[in-house]
Symmetry: C2
Amino acid sequence: MSRPGLDQGPGDGPLAIICGGGSLPFVVADAVQRRGRRVVLFAVRGWADPQRVAAYSHHWSTLGRFGRFCRVAREEGCREVVFIGVLMRPKLSQIGLDLGTLKVFPKIITAFRGGDDHMLTSFARIFEQHGFRLRGAHEVAPEILVGEGPLGRYGASARDEADIARGLALIEAAGHFDVGQATVVADGHVLAIEAAEGTDQMLARVAELRRLRRVQMPHGVGVLIKAPKPGQDRRFDLPAIGPQTIAGVARAGLAGLAVVAGETIVAEPQAVAVAADRDKIFVVGVRGHGGAG
Amino acid sequence: MSRPGLDQGPGDGPLAIICGGGSLPFVVADAVQRRGRRVVLFAVRGWADPQRVAAYSHHWSTLGRFGRFCRVAREEGCREVVFIGVLMRPKLSQIGLDLGTLKVFPKIITAFRGGDDHMLTSFARIFEQHGFRLRGAHEVAPEILVGEGPLGRYGASARDEADIARGLALIEAAGHFDVGQATVVADGHVLAIEAAEGTDQMLARVAELRRLRRVQMPHGVGVLIKAPKPGQDRRFDLPAIGPQTIAGVARAGLAGLAVVAGETIVAEPQAVAVAADRDKIFVVGVRGHGGAG
């Protein structure tokens, strides 16, 4: 049996994209294809969007079918893998184990015990032990990352900059607990910290607190700050923004949002800039705390 | 004009209770009265419950009428003040300033700029400069505090204890940002951190994440941990639990809740124990991180 992928240098050959929910997998796939590289989607059943998956060379699978993934990916000539898209922590009983998975089972059990970062890093190690190189979306398509400075027409005020600094410091402090990729800070006050609920729901909560007048700061005060957790494995789960983030920031009555330049994926940057300008919201890439790998 | 309060020693004379929303002011007032001390409620219009206030010696006021408060409290013979109950950060324009307030206005503006703790500590200093001693609810009625150990029939498992330790550490870390008096930790994973939304809403969020299967841990895994922020002025805003906290913990599918012994008010301890036992939920007072004043 030929294993063409194993004879190619890093960065060559088709890229396997293990594809969860949301639009990010397709943003990455498109960017990689524009660079002239072939992609093969391994769409995770129940999460990946079937209509969008159909437009690419693809295979359907469940998360648990690791043995099958290894075989098919090798047949396709892939030796690099990107793991991207929404994928909630599955129940062990729902994974659908195959033989190849059972062999690495003790490692997976261990991976499930720790926090998310621990789990993801363990997965990465398992892939690498089977001859695949795990890549981050930022490595295979750096043009999808937010750069330094404003993305649209508006910029951050001095008060916004103070809120951004406070938010970044809080994310760093909370991140040691494997939590908190985002926070909302308004005039020095932390209005919300994200944990399991996700950024969109956190923004909806701030909007609701404002509506109920439990937050009484004027409209246009406050910033959404998103940053990778310190020590987070950047090959998984880089923070991402898209047009729906702008909509959430606008509904929450904030001045804008700040992300870490070079460590945040922006889906549809043009649409983000247009939406931000229309809603008079700033989007800015800032330098992070730099503590992470 | 006689100022009887000013001639008495600390702890003597009637106690002025500046009374915000919720039931805690009455829990404190009842406990103080049971000790044979007179209370005078200064009920904050728009927040304090008029029906319950009516059962006590009281005066209505707005937050801004500091000059009037000083005069009336002195006439009543009060020289100690407790400040308790829900009181959202008001808009400056809604406070309704009087002359005595205008005199301390620059200090109040300063107080509004910082985080909550900063604001509260500044308020305390202003009271003290006008001859009043600010007391914490825990000083005037220590019997309303949670003691060490379980409150009801159930106790924490070893896994719960690990979650409790992690939650306390997170509250300490986040507390340096003047945020996060509570968190939910389940088998090492931080599911939620409280900011401006309050504990009840945070618990409702965890219940919803479970309902949507975005948190897939089994029912009965996870702990609500509440603790004062490090450095929090204990004379304001001690964490509090009551029967509704138990109801929220039960709906969120958690095993129980942990609070810091000696630094948490329990409204209706009997009702809390009965509700916890009925829902098979543990309530435990633990030692805090001890970093706070």
